[in-house]
C-alpha cells in the first residue's frame, strides 16, 4: 500500500478514535476537526482537489465552529444534576442505532460497483464540477445544505431548552 495513504488513514482513524474516548468535549471536538482535515488530505491524495478544499472550508472552517459553539452553549452548569448512569436500555439503543447506520453504510459500499484497478483519473475541471453540481446532482447539494441548517437549528434548540440554567433566584 502507498505509504502516504497509510499515514493519512492512520492519523484519520487514530484521531477519530481518541476523540471518541476523551471525556473533555472541547478537546474531542478539536480532535474531530483533525480527523476531518485528514479526510481532506485523503481526498487530496486521491486527486480530488476541489472536494478536498471544499471539505476543509465546510468542515474544518464551519462545522467545527458549530460543534464548538454547541458544546460551549450546552455545557452543564455546576448546579445541574449529574448525567444519569448508563442503563442496559441505553446501551442496547446505542448498539441498535450504531449497527443500523453501519449496516446501511456497508450495504451501500458493497452495493456500489467499484473499479478493481485504478484507471486513468478523469480530468475534471472546476467548470465541469460546477455544471454537475448544479445540474445532475442539484438535489444532493440541496439535501446537504438542508442537513447543515437542521444541525444548526438543533444546536440552537438544545442550547435554548426551557428551564436550563435557571437558578431559583434568577429573575
Amino acid at each position: 500500500m502507498n505509504p502516504a495513504a497509510l499515514i493519512i488513514i492512520v492519523v484519520l482513524l487514530a484521531s477519530a478514535a481518541v476523540a471518541l474516548s476523551l471525556r473533555n468535549l472541547v478537546r474531542a471536538a478539536l480532535l474531530l476537526t483533525v480527523s476531518w482535515a485528514g479526510l481532506a488530505a485523503f481526498y487530496l491524495w486521491a486527486g480530488a482537489e476541489f472536494v478536498a478544499f471544499a471539505q476543509v472550508l465546510v468542515y474544518v472552517g464551519a462545522v467545527s465552529m458549530v460543534v464548538l459553539f454547541a458544546v460551549l452553549l450546552t455545557r452543564p452548569a455546576p448546579t445541574d444534576p449529574p448525567p444519569p448512569r448508563a442503563t442496559y436500555g441505553r446501551v442496547l439503543g446505542a448498539l441498535l442505532a450504531g449497527s443500523a447506520v453501519g449496516g446501511l453504510l456497508c450495504g451501500a459500499i458493497l452495493g456500489t460497483p467499484l473499479p478493481s484497478s485504478p484507471g486513468a483519473p478523469p480530468a475534471l475541471t472546476v467548470r465541469e464540477i460546477g455544471r454537475q453540481l448544479m445540474g445532475v446532482h442539484a438535489a444532493a447539494l440541496l439535501v446537504a445544505g438542508v442537513l447543515l441548517t437542521v444541525a444548526l437549528l438543533g444546536a440552537i434548540v438544545l442550547a435554548a431548552a426551557p428551564g436550563r440554567r435557571r437558578s431559583p433566584d434568577a429573575p
Binding site: 478537546r27 478539536l30 476541489f50 478544499f53 476543509v56 472550508l57 472552517g61 464548538l68 475541471t125 467548470r127
Partner: protein, 414 residues
C-alpha cells in the same frame, strides 16, 4: 553576470514581447541557477523549498518593515515622531523588538491547557502562511498553480478561526474565552461578505485558479484603461465589500475588537506573553498581506500593468507596488477611523454588507448576460449596472443610519 547586464540594455532599447522580457525571466533563471546542479527527480522538490524560503524571507522582512511603517505613519498622523532612536530613522526598531520578544519570559497559566495553549499561535501562523502559496506574484512567479486556488486560499484562511478559539479556550480565563467567542462572531459574520464578494469574479472570469483570474483581466481599452475587474460597476462594489471584510477578517481597526488593547484587555491574547504574543501579531500582519494580495489578484488585475506603455516595468514590481498601496490604505484607515462597538459591527455585516454582496451577484449576472451590447446599449448597460450598485447602497445605508444621523455637535457651555 555580465551578459545579463548587456541583455538588459538591449531589452530597454528594442522592447521585446513582455513575456520574454529578461527581467521577467530573471526569477526563472535564478531558480535554474540554484537548482540546476541537482538531478531532475530532485529538482521539483528543491524549487518548492526555494519558493518556501523566498516567501518566508520576503514576507517576514515585509512584516518587520510594515510594523515600522505603521508606527511611523501613525506617528505622522498623530503629530509625533514615532520610533526614531534605534538605527537611522528608527529602521532597526523591528529587529530590536524581535530580540525583546524572544528574550521575554513566556508565562503560561498553571490551569491552562498546556498543549492547546502552545498550539494556538503555531496553528494560526501556519494557516496564514499557507495562504501565500497560490498568489501569482508575477508573470512567472506562481508558487503553486492549482485549479481551485481561490477555494484553497479561503479554506486555509478558515483554519484561523479554530486557532482563535483554541487560544481563548486553552487560556482557562473567562475574559479570554469571552473575547474568543466575540472574535469568532466577528470572523464568521465577515467571512460571509468576503466569500460572497469574490463569487462574481469567479462567475465572470470562469476560473477558480488565480492565474486564470489574472489572465482574464489582461488587456487595455485604448491602451490606457485596464480591463481590471475593479473598473466595472460590480467589480468596484465587490472590491469595496472585499476590502471592508478583509479589514474585519484580519482584526484591523476599525474592527479590532478581538484584541482592543486599550479597553478590552487584548481579548484572547490576555494570557499570552513573549514570543507567542509576537506570533499572533505576525499572523495578523501575514493575514493582512495575504488578503491584500488576494484583493489585487481578484480585482486589481494581479501583476498586470495599468497602462500598455508601462509594461516595460516587470510584473512583480507592479504587484509589489499595488500591495504597498493597499497596505498603506490599511494603516491610513487605522489612523483615521474610531473603533466600532460589537453591535454596530455585526449589524454592518448582516444588514449592510451581506445584502449588498448578494445584490452584487445579480449585478454581475446582468453584466455577464449583456456582454455583447454595443454602442448606445453599452452606455445603458453601464448606467443600469451602476444604478444596481449605487441604489441599494444608498437605500440600505439610509436604513442603517436611521435615527443615528445627522448628529449634532455642541460645545460645552463655558
Amino acid at each position: 553576470m555580465s551578459h545579463l547586464g548587456s541583455s538588459f540594455f538591449l531589452a530597454v532599447t528594442s522592447a521585446p514581447p513582455a513575456a520574454d522580457h529578461p527581467l521577467e525571466r530573471l526569477p526563472l533563471q535564478l531558480r535554474d541557477l540554484l537548482t540546476g546542479f541537482l538531478p531532475a527527480e530532485l529538482r521539483w522538490f528543491a524549487s518548492a523549498i526555494l519558493a518556501i524560503v523566498v516567501i518566508l524571507a520576503v514576507f517576514g522582512l515585509l512584516f518587520a518593515l510594515l510594523t515600522l511603517a505603521e508606527r511611523k505613519l501613525l506617528g505622522r498622523v498623530q503629530n509625533r515622531p514615532g520610533p526614531n532612536r534605534t538605527g537611522w530613522f528608527g529602521l532597526l526598531q523591528p529587529f530590536a523588538d524581535a530580540i525583546k520578544m524572544l528574550t521575554k519570559e513566556d508565562v503560561v497559566p498553571r490551569e491552562a491547557d498546556q498543549v492547546l495553549h502552545f498550539l494556538a499561535p503555531v496553528a494560526l501562523l501556519a494557516f496564514s502562511v499557507l495562504t501565500f502559496a497560490v498568489i501569482p506574484y508575477g508573470r512567472n512567479l506562481v508558487p503553486l498553480d492549482l485549479d481551485a486556488a481561490v477555494l484553497y486560499f479561503f479554506a486555509a484562511g478558515a483554519g484561523t478561526e479554530l486557532a482563535v478559539f483554541m487560544a481563548g479556550w486553552a487560556s482557562r480565563n473567562k475574559y479570554s474565552l469571552l473575547a474568543a467567542m466575540r472574535a469568532l462572531a466577528q470572523l464568521i459574520s465577515y467571512e460571509l461578505p468576503l466569500l460572497l464578494s469574490f463569487v462574481p469574479v469567479v462567475m465572470l472570469s470562469g476560473a477558480l485558479s488565480t492565474t486564470g483570474i489574472v489572465a482574464a483581466q489582461a488587456g487595455w481599452k485604448w491602451g490606457l484603461v485596464p480591463h481590471w475587474h475593479v473598473c466595472t460597476p460590480w467589480g468596484f462594489a465587490g472590491f469595496a465589500i472585499f476590502m471592508i471584510a478583509a479589514l474585519a477578517e484580519s482584526n484591523r481597526s476599525p474592527f479590532d475588537l478581538p484584541e482592543a488593547e486599550s479597553e478590552l484587555i487584548a481579548g484572547h491574547l490576555t494570557e499570552y506573553s513573549g514570543f507567542k504574543y509576537a506570533l499572533f501579531f505576525m499572523a495578523e500582519y501575514f493575514g493582512m498581506i495575504a488578503l491584500s494580495s488576494m484583493a489585487i489578484t481578484l480585482f486589481l488585475g494581479g501583476w498586470q500593468a495599468p497602462c500598455a506603455f508601462l509594461e516595460f516595468i516587470p510584473s512583480y514590481a507592479w504587484f509589489g507596488a499595488k500591495l504597498l498601496v493597499l497596505l498603506g490604505g490599511f494603516i491610513w484607515v487605522r489612523a483615521t477611523l474610531p473603533r466600532l462597538r460589537i453591535d454596530q459591527l455585526t449589524r454592518l455585516a448582516w444588514k449592510f454588507l451581506v445584502p449588498l454582496a448578494l445584490i452584487n451577484l445579480g449585478t454581475a449576472a446582468f453584466w455577464r448576460l449583456t456582454a455583447d451590447w454595443t454602442g448606445p446599449l453599452d452606455a445603458g448597460r453601464w448606467l443600469l449596472a451602476g444604478a444596481l450598485v449605487v441604489g441599494p447602497f444608498l437605500l440600505l445605508g439610509r436604513g442603517l443610519s436611521a435615527g443615528v444621523t445627522p448628529r449634532t455637535y455642541r460645545y460645552a457651555p463655558s
